[in-house]
Symmetry: C2
Subunit: 470 residues, 2 copies
Amino acid sequence: MLNEDTICAISTSGGSGAIAMIRISGKDAVRLADQLVRFPGEGKRLADQKGNTLHYAEIMDQGKLLDEVILSLYKAPRSYTGEDLVEISCHGSVVIQQKIMELLIRAGAVVARPGEFTQRAFLNGKMDLSQAEGVADLIASGSAAAHRLAINQMRGGFSAEIKKLRSELLEFISLIELELDFSEEDVEFADRGKLNSLTERIISLLDKLISSFEYGNAMKNGVPVAIVGPTNSGKSTLLNRLLQDDKAIVSDIAGTTRDSIEDTIVIGGVQFRFIDTAGLRHTEDKIETEGIQRSLKKYEQASIVILMIGPLEDDYAIRQSLAFLDEKKKAMPKKSLILALNKADLLDPTDKNRKLEHIRTILPEGDHYLALSARDGEGIGELENILLQEANKGHSEEQDVVVTNLRHFEALSHAREALARAREGLASSLPTDLLAQDIREALHYLGEITGEITTDNILSNIFDNFCIGK
Amino acid sequence: MLNEDTICAISTSGGSGAIAMIRISGKDAVRLADQLVRFPGEGKRLADQKGNTLHYAEIMDQGKLLDEVILSLYKAPRSYTGEDLVEISCHGSVVIQQKIMELLIRAGAVVARPGEFTQRAFLNGKMDLSQAEGVADLIASGSAAAHRLAINQMRGGFSAEIKKLRSELLEFISLIELELDFSEEDVEFADRGKLNSLTERIISLLDKLISSFEYGNAMKNGVPVAIVGPTNSGKSTLLNRLLQDDKAIVSDIAGTTRDSIEDTIVIGGVQFRFIDTAGLRHTEDKIETEGIQRSLKKYEQASIVILMIGPLEDDYAIRQSLAFLDEKKKAMPKKSLILALNKADLLDPTDKNRKLEHIRTILPEGDHYLALSARDGEGIGELENILLQEANKGHSEEQDVVVTNLRHFEALSHAREALARAREGLASSLPTDLLAQDIREALHYLGEITGEITTDNILSNIFDNFCIGK
C-alpha cells in the first residue's frame, strides 16, 4: 500500500506572497534537494546533516541562481509523513514556485495528490484515519467553534471515544465467543442479563455520539438561520448589519484575508449560515404561494428562525405569522424561534414596552423576543447573544467529543443498527452465532472510522477532499 | 534608527492553505515564542536551543490547544533580519493565523509594517538598499525575465556596478581636492586632459545604465504591445489565442495559481502587456476620430505594434495603414512593427505567397511580416518568436546589470546631469571648488541608490510598497 514515489507540492496558499513553501517527502527527498541546491562553503550536503535543522541554500537552474532559500530537514521517522521530508522556503513569487516544482519533477519527484502527505502519515502510523480527517477540518475551519472541534479530532479525542466503544464491544463478543466454543454443550456462559445491560450501555453511548452530529455539523458548516417576515420588515438590513459587525472584527488584524462566503457570519466564534427566504405573506395568489412554499422548504433547513415584524404590524398579523410558524414547528420541535420587533427606533419607549409585553403574552414558552433597530444597531448585541445561546443549546464547551463528519455519522448509525438487531436477537433468543455476526458488523463500522479497516474507496473519498500540499 | 519593537506578520500569502507561516523578529522574539508554546517533554525552552533548528511545539490559547506547529529558530545575527527570528509554521486556517497574531500582539509584539523585516535587514547591514529593492521585485516578478533581473539586483550585481561608478568618481574628486588643498599656490595638480577623459568614461558608464532602463522597465513591468488594425481584422481573436497558449503552460503544474492581470501574457519568459486599442479606420466622423485619437495615445505607449490586416484588404488600404503608422513612427524610431496577414487559412497557398511578397515590397526595411490564422493557430509560434526577438533587441541575456527601478533611473539621471555640468565646467575653466561641488552631487545621488545616503522619505517610499511579512 505504501508508495515508493517521492512527492512534492506547494504547501502554502496559492498566488504570490512574501514566502512560499514547497514540500518534498519520500525516500529520495534529501537526495533531490541536494541535487537542486548549492551550499555556500565547501562540500556541504544535506544528506550529512542532522534532522530538525535549517539550512541556507541556493537553488540553481541550469547553472543560474533561481533563488536563495531555507531548507528545513526532517529525517524519517521524525517527520510529519514519517518519511524523509524537506521543506523549501522560497521567495513567494509565482515564477519561483513554479520553477522549483518544475525542477523537482524533472529530477524525478511526482506532484503530490491532494492530502497525500497526510495519507502517508496515516499509512506510516503517525495518526489514525479520523485524526487525518481532523487535519483537513482544521485547515478548513472558519470559526473558533469549528476549530475547537477539529483540533480535538486531530488530537485523537474522537478516536479515544471510538476505542472506548470498541472495547465495550470486544467485551461483548468475547462473552459470546466463549459460548460458541462450547456450543455443542449447549450451555450459556454469557449471562443474558449481563449481555442485555452491556448492549444498552453501548447503544446509549452510540446514541450520544449520533445525536451530537446535528450540533457538530452546525458548528463545522455553520448554524443554519432563516430570517422570515413580511416584505419591508428589514430582513436584508438586519443581515447587512450583522455582516458589518463581523467584517469589522476580521479586518482588525492586518495581513489576513477572509474567504468570503456570502451571508456567512461568525458571531462569538460560531459560524451562522443565513438562508435566503422570500417575504412571508398570507396570500391567495397561486404564484406567490408557490414562491412561499419554496421559501418554506429553505426555512425547514434552518435550526433557528428569526421572525421579523415591523412596529406598525397589528396584533392580528403577528398572531397569524406566529400561528403559521407554530404549525411548521410542530414537525420540527428542535427549531428555535426569535421574534424581533424591528424599527424600534420609530416607537417611543412606552409604546415599545407595551408591544413587547403583548408579544410576551402570545409567544409560546421558550421562544425569544426582543426589540431592535437593524438600521441604527439597537438590540443587535442582544440578538447575537440569543443566537449564540441557541446555537450552543444543550452543549457545553467542555463536551468536545462531537461528531462533525458525515462519514462518521453514517458509520455510527450502521453500528447502532447492527447492535439494535443484536438487542432484538437477545430478546428473541437468536442463535449465538447470528448474534456474534451482528456484533462483528458493529465492530467493522467502528473500525472504518479510525481506519483499522479501510478500502481504497474510503481512502480516496477522504483524501481527495484535502487541499494540495498537506 | 533601529527599532526596539519585536514585530510579527503573516508571511505566506493570504487566505487558507495547507500551511501558513508567521514571522517574529526582534530582541523578544524567542521569549514571546516561549511564552506562547508548550513543548512535549520536560522543561524545554526555545531560548536554550541552538540557532538554525526546528522544534515541534503546541501553541496554547488560555490553556487550550490552538495548534500543533513547527518553530524555526534563528539567532542574531544569523537570520534574515540580523535579529533573533522565529518562524511559526501552523495549519493554514484563517482562524488559526488570526489567533496566533492576536496572541503575539497581546504578548507585546507589534504588527510589522510592509517590508519591515527587509528594512531591518538593511538597517542591520545585511544588504544595501538596492538589494532590498531587489527582494521586493523578486517577490513580485511575474516572468522569467523579471525574475532574472530581480535576483541579480538582490544579489548585488547592480550595487557592484554603482560601486564601480562611485570609485571612478572618488578618483576624480581626489584629484580635484588635491588641487583645492593647494589652491593658494595656483597650481594644477590634476591634469585637465586626464580629468576630461575620466568624465567621459563615467558619463558613458552612466549612459549605458540609463539607456538600459527602457529594456529593464519593459522586462519588469511587461513589454507594451499594441494590436491595431481595421475592425474585424481579428485583434481580439489573436489576443485570446495568445492568452490561451500562456494559460496552458501555467496550468501544467498543479497547485499554482496565477495572479491574472488582464491581457498580460508571458511568452518565452518575457511578459507582454497588451494595450487595448480601438479599430484603426480612416474616417471623417468627428466622434470616431476622437476615439481613434485616444487609441493612438495608447499606441504611443507601445514599444511593439502589431498591425493586423485581413486577407481581403486591398493594397490601397494596406498602404494607407502603413503610411498612417509610418508617420507616427517617425516620432518614435525605436518602435517595432509587425505586419500580420490574418485569416491566412482563407487564402490558398499561391494567393497567400503573392500577398506576402507584395507586403514585403511595400514594408520598410527592418519591420516584420507574416501570415497567420488567429482562429486555428497557424503562424502563432512565429509571431511569438518575433515578439520575443523584438523585446530582447539590443540586449544579450548575459548583460544582467540593467536598471529596472524608476528611483534608480532618476538618481542616475541626476548624477549624469551633475557630471555633465562638471564636464562643461572643465571646458570653461570653472573654479575648482565649483567643479568639486558638482562631483559631490553626483556622488550623493549614487549613494542614494545603495542607501549609503538615505532619508526617512526614501526609506518609507521603498518599504511601503513591499508586501507584508517580508
